[in-house]
Amino acid sequence: MMKNSEKYKQAASRITPSANMNVMNYIEEKETKRMMKTPVLRRALAVCMSLLFAIGLGFTAYAADFGGIRRPIDLWLHGSMDQVTIEEAGDGQYHVTYSDGSVRSVGGFAYEGDAARDLTEDEIISLLLTQTEVEKDENGSYWLYLRDHKIDITESLLKQGYAQEKMQDGFLADFITVVLHDEDSWGIMTDHFGFPSPEEVRDNTR
């Protein structure tokens, strides 16, 4: 009789990446972008943005023609307001297209009693508007984003393993604790009435 490990190895070996994936090409592309001189990069981005604005207008027209399938909205992206389109993709999923051309698949559940239901488009937009994000940039700095706030939390994260920031620009303050699990992994928790402890964040997000 075949052992569990043999059977599992044979079965799992059938799961393979698509032909589109090419690690070496990906690294080469990223390295080429990194080596571009900043002024050139900025100019290139400015050109791209103007082109994307034209495409954005096209999306609006598409939405008008087809009963509002694509809905233009303003969302925060990296501390700045960005005009995006949100489009229902079926099965409770929505596609959010940002002005830089990137697309995010969005979805979620809400629990009412014991029953789960898909989040509505308005609920998803509301969540996206209040979403706290942390990103690590190519220089190794960690940035915390919430609405129009963009805060460098690198020093605290690297020194003590966590960073805490309070933001109050509305009725309720946001107390945010970010814990670094390791250099590429972190956990975030937000509360309106005080900072979640680093231990709590560590335990709940690992």
Partner: protein
């Protein structure tokens, strides 16, 4: 020590991809994670003790990136296995059943089961890769095996 990025990709690409896939359950996400993991290796100036250390580092990095994706509100939905897994005629049907069963496990169990049965990692290695206690690995492994036995019955042996 280090090995060239081309050699690292050639040797460990499939392992890294599968580890990510079995955690995030989406092929596109797993491909993104795989590419980002090798980019991290390429960008890192870390000196490794051995090739086994490199493999463990790659798996740990991929697993962490997959965990981040699992935490993201906008992560992609998981795909049905049948979308990209074709069973050859001569292949036992129990393979697909086994994969479906593993993919239906809670994420922590899934990661432990995959590393134990596919990567042949020890309890200690799994604890290091996932950044959890050895006792937690043991309990997740036990839970995973119990759930797989319930789902697969005679197609999952009682061996440890």
């Amino acid at each position: 020590m280090r090995i060239a990025i081309q050699d690292a990709a050639e040797r460990y690409q499939d392992s890294v991809f599968r580890a990510a896939f079995f955690l995030c359950k989406n092929r596109q996400d797993a491909e993104d994670i795989c590419q980002e993991t090798f980019l991290a290796y390429y960008s890192s100036d870390m000196d490794f003790d051995s090739e086994e250390h490199i493999r463990a580092w790659l798996l740990r990095t991929a697993m962490n990136k997959a965990k981040n994706i699992l935490r993201q509100f906008w992560r992609r939905n998981s795909e049905p296995l049948s979308e990209f897994y074709e069973i050859a005629d001569e292949e036992p049907a129990e393979y697909e059943e086994l994969l479906e069963a593993v993919l239906s496990l809670p994420s922590r169990c899934r990661a432990v089961i995959h590393l134990y049965y596919y990567e042949d990692c020890s309890i200690k290695d799994i604890a290091r890769i996932l950044g959890i206690q050895e006792n937690t690995v043991k309990s997740q492994l036990h839970r995973g095996r119990t759930l797989l036995k319930e789902k697969l019955q005679e197609n999952w042996n009682d061996e440890e």
